[in-house]
């Protein structure tokens, strides 16, 4: 009984400590470059933050296997808006859109081993 009480007390203390640590001033945050002015992301930021990997994972199958291009979660469209004005990329500089959060969260971003991270002149014929 006493052990359970001690355990609960420890857990509560940790949780409270965690709540205190969420204080803005003491937590380092990633510096995320803003997207191109005048654009609106296809989903709200909190949805994207949580689910962008899921959206991309399903979209890529549609694109590769079914040939669907320019759809809502098209990676090229993401890059088009989010590319940094200085590096023209989402993944080359430390503050670039993808790299900033991914290095903060220590999650390796595999996409740009194959995908170009810069928006090249994309000829939009009949799509979008």
């Amino acid at each position: 009984m006493r052990q359970i009480a001690a355990l609960l007390a420890t857990l509560t203390a940790l949780a409270a400590g965690g709540a205190v640590a969420a204080d803005e001033a003491r937590t380092p945050r990633p510096v995320v470059e803003a997207a191109r002015a005048g654009t609106q992301c296809v989903e709200p930021a909190d949805v994207m933050r949580r689910d962008h990997m899921r959206f991309l994972k399903h979209q890529r199958d549609d694109t590769v296997h079914a040939g669907v291009r320019g759809a809502k979660y098209s990676l090229k469209e993401c890059i088009g808006c989010h590319a940094s004005p200085t590096t023209q990329s989402v993944a080359t500089g430390e503050t670039n859109f993808c790299t900033s959060c991914h290095s903060y969260a220590a999650v390796r971003v595999d996409c740009f081993e194959c995908h170009s991270s810069t928006p090249q002149a994309v000829v939009q014929q009949g799509s979008k």
Binding site: D61, C114, S116, Q120, Q125, S127
Partner: protein, 255 residues
Amino acid sequence: MKTDPAAPPAESKPRRRGFLGVAAAGMAGVALAPGIRLIEIAQAATTTTSAGANPAVRWGMLIDTTKCVEGCTDCVDACNTENGLAPATRPTDPQWIRKIEIKQIKTGRTASLPVMCQHCAEPPCVEVCPTGASFKRADGIVLVDRHSCIGCRYCMMACPYKARSFVHEPLADQKSDVPRGKGCVESCTLCVHRIDKGEKTTACAEACAKAGHGAIVFGDLNDPDSEISQRIRSANSVQLRADLHLEPGVRYQGL
């Protein structure tokens, strides 16, 4: 017969069964409902803008080797430019299309022709791929899904045309339409990124026409009125290694 004192009284058995029945139905509902909701979301979310691969179409190519010039590499250069390939100098460099000079042993007759992925109807590369990364699209184009490719190179062993290349080094500056990277296998895509956007031909066919040779024709093999179908109907053409019965989508004239 002695009644077991631990056995539950008779009337609670139907109640337990009833409870289990309701619980099972409830669990089934809980399990299914999110799936139904997700399907709703999925159908609502994707606003497709390009139509995607059309199963009624079968893309193919016709190459007239009599119009092919020995030493000319316009098709190869165009493919390299279009897809972001570096000009090949080493045996490890990927080549999606190459010019082959052939000489018949018995007669001495020579010919020159480009060879690329033949986009077979029965592709051995698709059969052997362990993850299903090598696949045939609805419109007949054989592709590599680099998200699933683990780089085992079994498809390279299986292809009778040596169509596939392996990326042996880290790459940079890929074309945004043509993602490609180290450790995956790749081959001619029949310029699928152009086709999906509605363009009418591949880079190699376009370059050959521009150079005035016109040796490469690209089109829909399932459309009897397309240029390629008319040409195939009127003059003889062969498939490479037709004896293997792979039904390639690329045909050659003048061989």
